[in-house]
Amino acid sequence: MAQSTLTDTGDSLTQPDGLQGIAADWSSDQRAFKNVPWGKAMMWIFLLSDTFIFSCFLLSYMTVRMSTKVPWPDPSEIFALEILGQRLPLILIAIMTFVLISSSGTMVLAVNYGYRHHRVKTAFFLLVTAALGATFVGMQAFEWTKLIVEEGVRPWANPYGAPQFGSTFFMITGFHGTHVSIGVIFLVIIARKVWRGDFDNNRRGFFTSRKSHYEAVEIMGLYWHFVDLVWVFIFAFFYLW
């Protein structure tokens, strides 16, 4: 009995769509989220809560930026780099954005090959995703070092203008970087499981002792895409504004 509840999604019943479907799913007195494994539903709910955390950070950034009399520093200038003798505005952040989007693409390929049970390809693309994520974190470390050591930006002061720039910058990009770092660690763990064949022979997880399925790759993917999603908003609101 305990086993059948894990993955039995009740497909035998016909499920209505549209508004009727919502009413039927939520009122069924069993589980609201049909067709999705519990881990996926829980990941979505976690991501929802994380959305609120990042929303609060971006909102407080908006509030301090709107309410200060001192001119806000121009991110376009601060994050410019000299490449081949040419000064390009915001180029570092643009490259970081492309790295993250590339990693989203390789992640989606990993999920796709996972469901096709291509063990080696899935593990390969997971590792590529992890490598791109690590590259992103490395570039962020470079960016922070440059700002802190060379230009003297601090959470309470900076040479360009409004002091609130430093605090919001370190808070928002730091929290996002932490998410990327945790994601990289989890990608490596999942890649190892895929490589070892855990999802092909339903080996039980060391912590949950539930059988492993390739859905774990998709759940990992949800987290990773969310990290990319948050970056889309940070890129727009913090760097481009």
């Binding site: 993955t7 919502i22 609201a32 929303s55 908006m62 709107m66 001192v70 989606v108 890129f235 481009l240």
Partner: protein, 107 residues
């Protein structure tokens, strides 16, 4: 026992969306590169941002293929953040005005 069917879709869809994400990112970078200012800047940045976010959530995170019970449970609550934005804008404007009136210099 056979488990759920999962989210299996042709790879072509993902590659197409991936391409669009690159195009949109380049476009939003070009907004900064060509120094578009004022309302056009706001409009373009927000447009590219929403398109990118929408594509990622809809296709990469499979929201278009999920049942509405899940889609609504996840996507409706963040909309309420807009109310919070409204409150914060109101408050920030007030703070700014008081600073204009009472502060000589500084933050």
């Amino acid at each position: 026992m056979e488990h759920t069917e999962g989210q299996q879709h042709p790879i072509g869809i993902y590659l197409k969306i991936w391409g669009w994400l690159f195009v949109l990112s380049t476009a939003s970078y070009l907004v900064d590169y060509f120094n578009v200012e004022g309302y056009p800047r706001w409009a373009l940045i927000l447009l590219f941002m929403m398109l990118k976010a929408g594509l990622i959530v809809a296709v990469f995170m499979h929201m278009v293929w999920e049942r509405l019970a899940l889609v609504y449970a996840i996507l409706v609550p963040p909309v309420l953040v807009l109310v919070f934005v409204g409150i914060a804008v109101f408050e920030a404007d007030y703070t700014f005005l008081t600073r204009l009136m009472f502060f000589q210099e500084g933050s």
